[in-house]
């Protein structure tokens, strides 16, 4: 201890205090303050950047959800549209079929009516011709046969009996 005290150099102590305190003050102004400020600023900016990234990720997720939802809606709408179109198409076909049937029926009915009319006309005509033929035949037969009066009457009666018009 005594040796320590005798070895103690006041000059060295003085210089050490002077240099060290000076160094602390100088470094504080030119080094530590800017260094710590920068480091703090950097840490804050890193924290902020991380926060912003997290926010962006969240926003991204919500956007994606939106997209998904919109897509789903679009798909549903398409389904609905297709279904509707299919129904409308079927209805149209049905309608067309029904119309066609109706038209066909109508044409058929008209045709039948026409046939009926034609048939009646034809029968009328036939009747007239048959009557004509019959008269001719009857005339001829009568020509040949009506030499005898009795005979003529008998024949006419017999003929008339046979002719049965429908």
């Amino acid at each position: 201890m005594e040796k320590l005290i005798s070895e103690f150099s006041f000059g060295l102590f003085f210089w050490q205090l002077f240099i060290f305190v000076g160094l602390v003050l100088l470094l504080k102004k030119y080094a530590w303050k800017p260094i710590l400020d920068t480091v703090n600023a950097r840490e804050t900016s890193i924290k902020e950047a991380l926060g912003a990234a997290a926010d962006a990720r969240k926003e991204m997720a919500s956007l994606q959800e939106d997209n998904q939802r919109i897509l789903k809606e679009a798909r549903a709408e398409r389904e609905a549209l297709l279904k509707e179109a299919r129904t409308t198409g079927a209805q149209l076909v049905e309608q067309a079929k029904a119309d066609a049937q109706k038209e066909a029926d109508r044409i058929l009915t008209q045709a039948q009516a026409a046939i009926q009319t034609e048939k009646a006309a034809a029968i009328e005509d036939l009747k007239r011709q048959v009557a004509g033929f019959s008269l001719d035949i009857a005339e001829k037969v009568l020509m040949s046969e009506l030499e005898d009066r009795n005979k003529q009457t008998a024949l006419v009666e017999k003929l008339l009996k046979d002719v049965n018009l429908k």
């Binding site: 210089w15 050490q16 060290f20 470094l27 504080k28 030119y30 080094a31 303050k33």
Partner: protein, 359 residues
Amino acid sequence: MVNIFKQINLLFFLCFASFTFAKEAEGSSNNLKEEIRAYIQHHLEDTHDFNLLSYTAEDGHKVHIGMPLPVILWDEGFQIFSSSKLHHGESVAQVGDRFYKLDHGTIYRTDAEGTITYDEEHHATNVAPLDFSITKNVFTLMLTALLMFFLFRGLARSYATNGMIAKGVGRFFEPIVLYIRDEIAIPNIGEKHYKQYMSYLLTLFFFIWFLNILGLTPLGINVTGNIAITFALALITFIITNVTAKKDYWLHIFWMPGVPKIMRLALAPIELLGVFIKPFSLMIRLYANISAGHIVLMSLIGLMFIFKNWFGSSLSFGLAFAISIIEVLVALLQAYIFTVLSALYFGFAVEEHEHEEAH
């Protein structure tokens, strides 16, 4: 010539060891042991010139390689002259009409013949003027301060030029700065008050660390193993602790809350003593650790010259090498301990207690 080369080789060979011995072993081994002891003692002390190595030339005259430093004395006015005038204590320096002589590291005022008288306890009785010389240690302090200033200003500037990212050697030091903030200052002092102590803690840590490391180079410097240096550092910690101390700190020293009144009276002197013991322990711890490291290292190197055979000398070399590596760790550790304990004391000083009777 061969001898000189041997020593220079050795000097670089032991790159962590701090010196070479003055001269080759000649004469009896007792003389050599004495000489090694004297050399170690001499190395631990501060000197007035920056001596790299000394040896005795073949014609028997001592040769010193190094550079002189300015001597500044307060002897009824400043006396400034070069330490080369003192010739390592071998001759008397004349400055104006005064004469000075160097004796065992102290400059005394003498007569023209350089007579120094001693009392019974072998203390010189001559007047020793106040010595403000730029000694080897002061020179090293200045060098370290300059180095630190440019290093850390460079780091601060590299942030500005490189977009907030350290460049070059700053990349190595930036994590250490952050470590001191996050692992030393904030946990010990607290988030609220640590900022005002950061400049001191950072400067303190790097200052002690750099000087410790410089002490392990072959330049033969022993700054942090000097009691004046550690006293100055401990004194600053002491002053800062007590100046920034809050009311609670003094309350806990003089009137400890939560204990019986009679105990408060008994505790007060003990606590008060603690105020002084804390920085005192800082001073002694750093001084003792660094001095001891230097003594052990140099003794091991000295052993090489005592053994003087390939086995013993290589063994001492191996030991010296291992101790050097440990000393590099001690250099860092002591800087760390000094800084942590300072931070801890500052933490005590600004600690705020929620409730007086809560203890």
